[in-house]
């Protein structure tokens, strides 16, 4: 075990304690094949140099629009998708160098829950078997009885009933299925939970139930979350710090309240101003971004955001801004905002 030798400490929290997870210059390029020989004709720069740290016990929210690379980042950290380059350090260990066995062991401490609770549960297994599987793989229970006891305990932890263990996924509502996904992740007592759009598929009243559950579990088990979502209101609510991504890069990282009160990057500012507020008496100035998010196959040169940026200057298309600490603990990648 060695400490991460980071060339840059982008997005580091002000405290000096060793982070639970460090991501450095993570990249993932997907090849696009074409022609009769299926040659690589192009690459999608899904994740294009992402760096951040997560401290134990905090929630780092990652927001951005479709295609910004937030989900790919989450999956690369667990190596569910093999990154093209970059470093991932978890509890002081180099995740990129792990062999199959080490990775398997590491995943006991780092679990993931997905957006679509319909697609991520095996329809042919009972809930008991789905949750119990993780216990067996990681050899956490010695007998069938011990497994059942643990499953019952987990179901109760996430607000389901013990008799639910004999049922199949289709017998549950969306919110209940997400609870099952959470119970499965908690079965191995992880330290870090990557939540990939965990409430996006749920109705608002159910969404609130799941958010509250995640907050309770964090308090109860001292969990650390990497919370990936496109809904800025949800991310703001649950996160300690937030990273904003645009076209594969982190453009800003700041404590949640500070990001919302005083965003630095023009993209963060526009994104926040676009969120509709459920209160007709609140009238805000909206910054309308023109056009669509550019194609990640050929992202704009220099600052990826310059094609839509209201304050772009000529050299923004030439030079890529680096993520700099503009205020204590508040990092942004923009040439012209401090």
């Amino acid at each position: 075990m060695s400490a991460p030798v980071a060339s840059q400490s982008a997005g580091t929290a002000p405290e000096t304690a060793r982070p639970l997870l460090s991501v450095r210059d993570l990249r993932k390029h997907f090849a696009i094949r074409g022609g009769i020989l299926s040659r690589v004709v192009d690459k999608v720069h899904a994740v294009d140099g992402v760096s951040f740290d997560i401290k134990a016990g905090e929630t780092l929210g990652v927001v951005g629009e479709s295609g910004c690379g937030k989900s790919t980042t989450g999956r690369c950290i667990l190596r569910l998708i093999e990154p093209s380059s970059g470093e991932v350090w978890f509890q002081g260990a180099d995740v990129m160098k792990m062999d199959h066995n080490a990775l398997q062991a590491m995943r006991r401490d780092m679990q993931i829950i997905f957006q679509d609770p319909y697609a991520s549960l095996n329809p042919r297994l009972t809930i008991g078997a789905i949750i119990g599987e993780a216990l067996i793989i990681h050899k956490l229970v010695k007998s069938r009885q011990a497994m059942e006891d643990r499953v019952v305990q987990l179901l109760e932890t996430v607000g389901l009933r013990p008799d639910h263990m004999r049922r199949f996924p289709h017998e549950f509502s969306g919110g209940q299925r997400q609870r099952i996904g959470i119970a499965r992740a908690l079965a191995v007592e992880p330290k870090l939970l990557i939540c990939d759009e965990p409430v996006s598929a749920l109705d608002v009243s159910i969404q609130a139930q799941v958010i509250n559950l995640l907050e309770d579990l964090q308090e109860q088990f001292g969990l650390t979350y990497l919370f990936i979502a496109h809904d800025l209101s949800v991310v703001e609510h649950i996160s300690t710090r937030i990273a904003v991504m645009y076209l594969g890069r982190v453009v800003e990282i700041a404590p949640a309240a500070e990001l919302y009160d005083t965003p630095i990057h023009p993209y963060s500012e526009a994104l926040l101003s676009a969120v509709p507020i459920p209160d007709p008496t609140v009238k805000r100035k909206r910054i309308m971004l023109q056009g669509d998010v550019p194609n990640p196959i050929r992202p704009p040169s220099g600052c990826h955001f310059h094609t839509r940026c209201p304050i772009a200057r000529p050299d923004c298309s030439q030079r890529s801004p680096v993520l700099e600490e503009k205020r204590p603990g508040h990092w942004a990648a923009c040439h012209y905002r401090d």
Partner: protein, 323 residues
């Protein structure tokens, strides 16, 4: 008061399934006046989309059927109309746009052909003129290079641009009412802002009314004048936007508003979200009485005995609750 543009009275749209009759829309009353935007909000399965589709009779029958009620369009009931008569209404008076524009655009025709087809329905024009008209509509909805884009196919447009194409197509028949069924749900937040702004502009320009079906309370607060809240096939509350958000009276509406995290309140101490316990009832066998009673923290014995009527609690503010 003038006759409303659309007046839905006691509408029941039910679906026959192998498991029994699903009462998707079970006694809905709502009206839309000329030029106003009415929001219809509620969660999955509350019947908001079925209500919208019932207006245009876009419900497959069977399995669906109109069990009761009237859909008065400028005073004329649409339910008994023949398909030919409905076609005229759909072509010229009421248009609809959907959540996922890709499924409502034909992938093998250019967008120009598809818009031109709508234009040709109510104007005698040559193909060349109709295509030019289509390009004009694309310009109106701010699609860059409309003369060139008119020859593109739907897959060559992004999600936001496709929704603009759908709006252009809907507007080309100059409808009096645009039904927008979750028009921005599939879009990113910055694109959603663009589309909502476009709809507002078009509404002012053409003086049409909008029935906006959505689950997003924020979108309602920012775009509608009045709101109808639906729950499990019933209307539970109807009010002006100001009254609904300022003084919600139904426990479901209150819960819905309080369960949403708000970005504009970051400075305040973070409050725990107020979740509504439980899940929506099964519409195969809805509970007698108030359908929200099982999840309601104020529920009393009387709540499960009969469906409370929609009663007026303030000017234009109606609530279906015994409290």
């Amino acid at each position: 008061m003038a006759e409303p543009l659309l007046d839905i009275r006691g509408l029941k749209t039910w679906f026959k399934t192998d498991d029994g009759m699903v009462r998707a829309v079970d006694g809905v009353d709502l009206h839309i006046d000329r030029g106003e935007t009415l929001g219809v909000v509620g969660e999955s399965g509350c019947g908001k989309t079925v209500t919208a589709r019932s207006v245009l009779k876009l419900i497959d029958m069977p399995p669906g059927r109109f069990e009761a009620g009237q859909i008065l369009w400028q005073g004329r009931d649409l339910i008994p109309l023949s398909m030919d008569e409905m076609d005229k209404i759909r072509a010229k008076e009421i248009a609809i746009i959907f959540q996922e524009p890709m499924t409502s655009l034909n992938p093998v025709y250019t967008v120009g052909d598809q818009i031109a087809e709508v234009i040709a329905l109510h104007q005698k024009l040559s193909r060349r003129q109709a295509i030019a008209g289509a390009a004009e509509m694309l310009r109106l909805v701010d699609i860059p290079n409309p003369e060139r884009r008119v020859h593109d196919y739907p897959h060559q447009f992004s999600g936001g641009m496709r929704q603009r194409v759908m709006i252009a197509m809907a507007l080309s028949c100059q409808p009096k009412l645009l039904i927008a069924d979750e028009p921005t749900t599939a879009l990113d937040v910055t694109i959603q802002a663009q589309i909502l702004e476009l709809m507002q502009e078009m509404k002012e320009r053409f003086g049409m009314a909008i029935m906006l079906i959505t689950h997003a309370m924020g979108v309602v607060a920012e775009t509608c004048q009045r709101v109808t809240v639906m729950y499990a096939g019933n209307v539970v509350e109807e009010a002006s936007v100001e009254a609904l958000f300022g003084n919600p009276r139904h426990p479901y509406t209150q819960g819905l508003i309080r369960s949403i995290p708000r970005v504009d309140r970051s400075a305040e101490k973070k409050q725990r979200l107020e979740a509504i316990a439980g899940t929506v009832p099964n519409l195969l066998d809805p509970p007698p009485g108030c359908r929200f009673a099982a999840r309601c923290k104020f529920a009393m014995d009387v709540c499960s005995q009969g469906l409370p009527p929609l009663k007026e609690v303030g000017p234009g503010h109606y609530v279906r609750c015994v409290l």
